[in-house]
Amino acid sequence: MSETHTITVTVNGQQYTETVPIRMLLVDFLRDVIALTGTHVGCSYEGRCGACTVVVDDNAVKSCMMLAVQTDGRSILTVEGLEKLSAGEGQLHPIQDGFWERHGLQCGFCTSGMMMTIFDVLKSHFEVGEPELTDEAIRKALVGNICRCTGYSHIVAAVQTAAARLNAMPVELRCAHFDVKRLQECRRER
């Protein structure tokens, strides 16, 4: 039997059909096959550091803890797609803006994964009210992402700033910032 498998996945709204080794990790697929190198590897696939976190079907997962073949038919959002969910061309997503404004990153290596976890956290906060956005709850939600530069406080502040900005938006606009399916539809319309 074959050691490869053909998969079709949607990444940041774009559909890819690729034949990949079964043993290929999702993170290697993203970085090596479709050349989206914004997703990083920090613990060499141990699954602890969280730098490789991406959003698969609305849930933050570590892309080194999933095989590429397991994403067949699924939709993935990576850091490269985040900006496309912002309110307008050239604008950053409020999560990115929060990091920028509060100096939530230094070397930037953990940042992509950190923001993808936060995407999941804020989406779930605005949809079901959990987690609450106390500093403590934010810290707990980020247990799966290690940062060695910032000491985390500025990241917590970045989440608060992003949340405040999203909170101030009309519901529809806010939801649009989390609507990954929108990316695919935009593409189709074009």
Partner: protein
């Protein structure tokens, strides 16, 4: 946004806030949002692992599986047969290709005292001295093939006795790491002055031993190299490094290649370094050689396990024996310290594991006015990877020892530690310490008093009293540090034979934009933003008009490296000097073009214009003057050459260094039942001279303190007696997450230095150092009713609980922790056969140890045990001599007796596992343990068959 927002550290965007800045005429001092973030936030960073070249091969370092052994043979043949594998090289192969000794005199520090230089080639040839030392390199078309091949490398070792504990290594008769040395001392030296009088006058002498294990910085991005050789062009080596220029020079020196044929490039983005990328890696040299041989680009990205095993992030590792002399009023008269640094193999260029323990000792007196100090430093080699530098550069253990010692003194004297600390603060600047360190500026009393106000010590004391009544224990502790803002040539040239200057090349473009080139590459320290703010002020532009490049040895000036707080003191000053040189030239041409008679000093640069201060209507766009100088070089004033480029060097003119400082306070609550620690507040008052960007300064302090907390409470590299690293994963190493650490409250009390153009001092290096002392002082304060004493790190709850129990003379029922299974007595007999058999049993024991429940952090280890065991077993079964020896040992005994005599526990475990129903395949623990036992059964079968034949 209003002014209050700025003070509350809400960042300012360059475009939005340009107007306001113009009103203030200053970018320096603004909490500007970072320029580098635009690419990083979009996933557009360019880290080493993101770089690829056509025809690129992937490299894998085969590493020693023993901590101390002779390499008898390395067989790569099976590995080379794996499809996709292109080549393999052992150390011997590399010798044939021109590999040389690494620690040439240019790469060895010059230290007062005795220093021995260990033998070391980039890849080991005959002997390994630590587990994880590189012994061969494989190249393949993809990483899958590489790892498939790596499993098929067969190495024969002759194991040698291992020494792990540095104090044991100093004992008479300890195994020697280097055969040709008489003992295990790499370095022995003294610093300080005469302390006899201090001790003679003392009312009280306090003695203590402190121990800080190996921990450090471990950035999120591991190391990597992309090496590319082109004939007639030479080597282009992209690598994760803080000092590309030094690496280029070293490659040329070590490999004896022409320096101009070596180009080292640090990638635009690096995922943190914290000192770990300051040494020159052995892997860089090996891959440079191999790239030349195979003439194809080669990329190597290490794994986290590999990184840990190679010693990246393994700093600290010091033991201190301190004796402190003081008056009964708590005035410190002097101290003696004997520092034992566990330098591992010591095989790293530039520092050799000893440079930073020495720096730590040099800074040991810190902010205390201690007239007499005498420190003996002993660097001891052990069978561990070389101690590598990390943020705080040797100072974390020395700060722990010193700040703890002052606390001990206060408690002995029944004085408030705060009073004792305050009483001994340095009050006059400049100041030269007993070890000869020069402090140019500071206001320690001012900083300390500010911290006391912030913390509200009296309030805490009241609360402490109240809470104690209900069985809760809070406490407050203090610490601090003095850090050098870079080191000048005055200090570097004699010690490292390397310069200390800061250097920057500044170029004004024809359109009035500015381009800056630095030799030293950042790895998260915000160079782009900082330089842009500074030069925007100099040239009267906005930060968006400035471009920064760095790290390419072909296009940037030689720099010592992005290390030790150099950026905002040395490098920024050089950029300012370069800009001012160019401004002089611009002013002369501006005067000429405006047709006014004015001196260069009479011009200001504002809003893109050059203005005559005597008559501000006389103004000309900077771009117009630049265009004149670059594109239209006619009608220039006399003596003015075309072009607008200048490279400037900066050193403080008359002093060896400039010094910043920080004072720390922690308020903690400790649960005496469990020893669990909660940091209620952590506050820092910091002096960086003049902050260029307060937001970035705060980021450095936050990050530095949290690294200190990680090193103090959680992290520790643990080695077994056989020299194997026990925690090779981030989880096993207990790297903390956001939920494990507190917010840090950051304040400043800045005293600008007079020795550079902006008054700036560096910030970032020192922040972790005071953390363990501060926390421990707070813990002891909280637990004062129990009178506990803590002298070792990490401050894990179990350690604190044990200190409480010890103070109360309680013994918590139960045994001690057992990190290792009891060692099996070796089979007696001599020669290779017995070594083989003992090796087999050692591995089997390893597997048994890994049957312990929390095996996940040790996955790599179980696999290694298992793999090696199978290989060794195959050799035992295949060796008639081994079988014969075994048979002889157990002649006449039945199979079960044989097992029982070798290991009753193992037999029981084996029997138990054997009788289990065949587990489902999810049952991973049995999945790979069982085969080992099955293999063991095979051996016994082989024996039983062989026995009659042999008899």
């Amino acid at each position: 946004m209003n002014d209050e927002d700025v003070d509350g550290a809400i960042a300012v965007a360059p475009d939005e806030e340009a107007e306001r800045s113009r009103a203030r005429k200053k970018w320096v001092g603004q909490p500007l949002k970072r320029k580098e973030d635009q690419r990083l936030l979009r996933g557009q960073g360019e880290y080493l692992a993101d770089l690829q070249l056509p025809r690129m091969l992937h490299a894998y370092f085969v590493r020693s599986k023993h901590a101390h052994a002779r390499l008898l043979s390395i067989d790569l043949s099976a590995a080379l047969r794996v499809p996709g594998v292109v080549a393999g090289f052992t150390g011997a192969d590399l010798l044939g290709m021109g590999m040389r000794e690494l620690l040439i005199p240019d790469l060895v520090p010059v230290l007062p005292g005795e220093l021995r230089v260990p033998p070391c080639t980039p890849v080991a040839v005959k002997k390994v001295v630590f587990h994880g030392e590189p012994i061969a390199v494989l190249l393949a078309e993809n990483r899958y093939a590489l790892e498939d091949a790596a499993e098929r490398v067969h190495v024969r070792y002759e194991q040698l006795p291992v020494v792990i504990d540095p104090e044991r290594a100093l004992e008479e008769g300890a195994p020697r790491v280097y055969d040709e040395w008489p003992d295990n001392v790499l370095y022995r030296g003294k610093m300080g002055n005469d302390v006899s009088e201090a001790f003679a006058k003392a009312d009280i002498i306090v003695e203590e031993r402190f121990e800080v294990p190996r921990t450090g910085a471990s950035p999120m991005e591991v190391r990597g190299v992309l090496a590319d050789w082109r004939d007639h062009v030479g080597l282009t080596l992209r690598t994760t490094t803080q000092r590309p220029h030094l690496l280029r020079l070293a490659i040329a020196q070590v490999l004896e290649w022409p320096e101009h044929m070596v180009r080292v490039i640090a990638p635009r983005d690096q995922g943190g370094s914290f000192g770990t990328k300051a040494p020159l890696s052995r892997e860089d040299f090996a891959l440079a050689l191999i790239a030349k041989q195979v003439k194809r680009p080669i990329r190597w990205i290490e794994t986290r396990e590999e990184s840990f095993r190679a010693g990246v992030g393994q700093e600290r590792g010091q033991i201190h024996y301190m004796r402190l002399a003081a008056t009964k009023a708590g005035r410190i008269l002097g101290f003696r310290d004997r520092c034992i640094a566990d330098v591992g193999g010591g095989q790293q260029p530039v520092f050799m594991g000893i440079g930073f323990p020495r720096a730590g000792c040099f800074l040991m007196t810190s902010f205390y006015d201690i007239p007499h100090a005498q420190i003996e430093l002993i660097g001891v080699v052990t069978n561990k990877p070389c101690l590598t530098p990390s943020r705080a550069f040797g100072s974390l253990p020395t700060r722990f020892a010193m700040d703890r010692m002052v606390n001990r003194l206060a408690r002995e004297l029944r004085l408030d530690p705060l009073e004792v600390m305050r009483k001994n603060l340095i009050t006059k600047f400049p100041y030269t310490t007993a070890t000869g360190n020069y402090y140019d500026s500071g206001d320690y009393v001012g900083s300390f008093d500010k911290l006391l106000r912030i913390i509200d010590v009296e309030g805490i004391r009241r609360k402490q009293e109240e809470l104690r009544k209900v069985g809760r224990f809070i406490g407050v502790g203090f610490g601090g540090e003095v850090e050098r803002s870079g080191v000048s040539s005055q200090a570097y040239v004699p010690r490292q034979r390397k310069p200390g200057y800061g250097v920057a090349m500044v170029k004004v473009l024809s359109t009035g934009k500015v381009q800056v080139a630095l030799g030293d590459p950042p790895s998260g320290q915000s160079h782009d933003t900082v330089i842009s703010q500074v030069l925007a002020d100099e040239f009267g532009l906005t930060p968006a008009d400035i471009r920064l490049d760095y790290g390419d040895t072909l296009t940037t000036p030689f720099g010592i490296g992005n290390v030790g707080n150099r950026m905002s003191s040395y490098t920024v000053s050089a950029a300012v000097l370069a800009a001012r040189e160019l401004k002089k030239k611009l002013a002369v041409v501006a005067a000429h073009d405006l047709g006014v008679r004015a001196a260069a000093g009479q011009f200001e640069f504002e809003d893109g214009n050059i203005l005559w201060t005597e008559n501000r209507d006389a103004s000309i766009p900077l771009a117009q003057v630049a265009k004149h100088l670059i594109e239209l070089p006619l009608d220039l004033p006399a003596g003015i050459q075309p072009g607008l480029e200048h490279t400037a060097y900066y050193e403080p003119a008359d002093v060896p260094n400039m010094t910043g400082s920080s004072f720390h306070a922690a308020v903690v609550e400790v649960d005496p039942e469990t020893g669990e620690l909660k940091i209620l507040r952590y506050a820092v008052v910091d002096d960086c001279g003049k902050p260029i960007n307060p937001l970035i300064v705060e980021g450095q302090v936050q990050g530095g303190v949290v690294l200190g907390i990680a090193n103090s409470i959680f992290e520790q590299f643990v080695y077994s007696d056989t020299g194997e690293l026990q925690n090779t994963t981030l989880e096993g190493y207990l790297m903390p997450s956001a939920a494990d650490v507190p917010n840090v409250e950051c304040f400043d009390h800045n005293v600008p230095t007079r020795h550079n153009p902006l008054g700036t001092k560096g910030k970032g290096e020192g922040a972790p150092a005071p953390v363990p002392g501060t926390l421990t002082n707070a813990i002891e304060d909280a637990l004062a009713p129990f009178d506990v004493k803590i002298t070792e790190l990490p401050l894990r709850p179990e350690r604190i609980r044990r200190a409480v129990a010890a103070a109360l003379h309680i013994t918590d029922r139960g045994g001690e922790p057992s990190p290792e299974a009891p060692a099996r007595p070796a089979l007696e007999g001599e020669g290779e056969v017995y070594e083989l058999l003992n090796e087999m049993y050692r591995l089997l024991d390893g597997i048994r140890v890994s049957l312990q429940p929390i095996w996940h952090p040790h996955i790599g280890r179980i696999r290694a045990w298992h793999h090696d065991y199978e290989q060794t077993l195959a050799r035992v079964v295949g060796s008639a001599a081994a079988i014969k020896a075994l048979t002889a040992i157990y002649a006449g005994e039945t199979e079960s007796n044989f097992i029982a005599t070798t290991s009753p526990e193992l037999t029981a475990e084996w029997r138990r596992l054997e009788e289990l129903p065949r587990p489902d395949s999810q049952h991973a623990y049995l999945e790979f343990i069982l085969p080992a036992f099955e293999a063991h059964a095979l051996l016994l079968t082989a024996l039983s068959h062989a026995a009659p034949v042999l008899q």
